[in-house]
């Protein structure tokens, strides 16, 4: 019985079909993070959030850990999430870490900050949503552990710095870094102002009285 010789073309086409089948199972089976959205799903799972809607992806290659990464700001009715998703050849996109700022009903501002560091340095971002504020002032308090000296660096967020999404103003801005590399950041304080310049929301550095809520904070470290 004679059998027709399988040509290279036919064998290659057969292997392409097998590859497509395996790839479909691989990606549909959620074994591999094909897009940054998978990294965001990871973060939602990690922080027990319902599905969020992405507001923006940001790229900041400021530290080596962030070179194959995207920062993501997303939101749902319950919270704002700001974190980092990273690409790895073997597992695809995955969530690195995030800060989650719970949303309070009728709050004029919901905000938090997120730090990401590795041996090459660190990234710090303030993020939030301004629903009833005209301006948000973020104050970073840096201190010298040995001498006790401190400095305050300010970052003001106006509607011009914001991304308009779903009728609301969202922001994700780098926080100012101290010029003293060995000083540590003792605190990040937020004050939100209305159109008349009156403070309507502020965080209390002592954590007692006066503050509406503490700023949500998240950190991730690559060793």
């Amino acid at each position: 019985m004679m059998k027709k010789i399988c040509t290279r073309r036919r064998r290659a086409l057969r292997r392409i079909c097998c590859f497509l089948l395996v790839a479909a199972l691989f990606f549909c089976g959620r074994f591999y993070g094909l897009t940054p959205r998978w990294g965001l799903n990871d973060l939602e799972n990690t922080y027990a959030l319902d599905r969020t809607t992405r507001v923006a992806y940001l790229h900041d290659g400021g530290i080596s850990a962030s070179r194959f990464s995207l920062l993501v700001l997303s939101e749902n009715d319950d919270a704002l999430l700001f974190g980092a998703t990273r690409f790895h050849l073997l597992i695809g996109w995955y969530g690195v870490g995030a800060a989650v700022a719970p949303r309070e009903p009728n709050a004029p501002v919901t905000a938090g900050y997120y730090d990401w560091s590795d041996d090459s340095g660190s990234l710090s971002y303030g993020f939030g949503c301004m629903t009833g504020a005209a301006r948000v002032q973020l104050l970073c308090v840096y201190s010298d552990f040995q001498t006790g000296r401190s400095e305050i660096l300010e970052r003001t967020v106006t509607p011009d710095d914001c991304m308009r999404f779903g009728g609301e103003d969202y922001f994700a801005v780098p926080l100012p870094q101290s010029g003293h590399s060995d000083w540590y950041r003792a605190n990040v304080l937020l004050t939100a102002y209305d159109e008349n310049g009156s403070a309507i929301v502020w965080t209390d550095p002592d954590g007692a009285g006066g503050a509406t809520h503490a700023l949500a904070y998240g950190t991730s470290t690559f060793s």
Partner: protein, 241 residues
């Protein structure tokens, strides 16, 4: 087959592009063809040796056959085929690795669903045990309250404990490691101390609260993203020293 060896070797000399597999396939193909032809000639009364020679002669020049076949062997298709095969094998290996990882999640998740109390947690002496089975939706996960009771800590103070386990609705997915929107309070006070453990598939936690001796009941409020679930848990002090 032996009768055609020289002819087949001659053809294969003109196949520089062919792989071993392709050479073997062509040899088999030509050999079958020659055998069939020789067999037919033998049935027609030709002696076996002459039948083999005539079958080879009918095939034509070994060089032309070899060169013609060699010309059809495209290196591009060979490369594409090999790449697809290699990547498919890699994907299968990766899938197996991932399945082993999610298998760990699955084990924890199933334990949380079917036998949560088998995970040992204790921050003192458990004096009474009240079985519960309350499931609260926490994002895409479930917080299951499966036990509560009165305990006595190392300072001989009574406390109320609530045993919970957090697991994902999808059994293959990891459980949340951090629940910033979740708060569990009893009679208005937040967790006094507590802790837990687990890995990947489910996280157990024992929430503990100070308790006055003889309190008839305690109200536990579980808040997730503003949604409050209240549990009124009666306390039985019988037999408690």
């Amino acid at each position: 087959m032996e009768d055609f060896k020289d002819f087949l070797d001659a053809v294969c000399r003109f196949l520089p592009r062919a792989t071993e597999e392709e050479r073997a396939a062509l040899r088999k193909e030509l050999s079958d063809h020659l055998c069939d032809h020789a067999e037919f000639l033998e049935q027609c009364g030709v002696p076996p040796e002459e039948a083999a020679q005539r079958a080879v002669a009918a095939m034509g020049s070994a060089e032309i056959i070899g060169r013609d076949y060699n010309a059809t062997l495209s290196p591009v298709w060979l490369l594409i085929g090999r790449i697809c095969k290699t990547v498919s094998v890699l994907l299968i290996l990766l899938s197996v690795g991932m399945l082993l990882n999610t298998g760990g999640n699955l084990a924890g998740n199933l334990k949380a669903r079917f036998s949560p109390a088998s995970y040992a947690m204790s921050h003192g002496q458990m004096l009474t045990q009240i079985p519960l089975d309350e499931k609260i939706s926490v994002g895409r996960s479930i917080l299951r309250c499966y036990g509560a009771g009165i305990g006595l800590d190392a300072q001989s103070e009574y406390f109320f404990y609530l045993d919970t386990v957090l697991y994902n609705r999808n059994p293959l997915q990891a459980a949340p490691q951090c629940t910033p929107l979740l708060e569990v309070a009893a009679d208005g006070t937040v967790d006094r101390f507590g802790g837990g453990g687990g890995s990947g598939g489910a996280y157990w936690r024992q929430w503990c609260y100070a308790l006055s001796y003889g309190a008839p009941a305690i109200t536990v409020s579980i808040t997730y993203a503003g949604q409050v679930t209240s549990l009124e848990i009666p306390l039985n002090w019988e037999g408690v020293p």
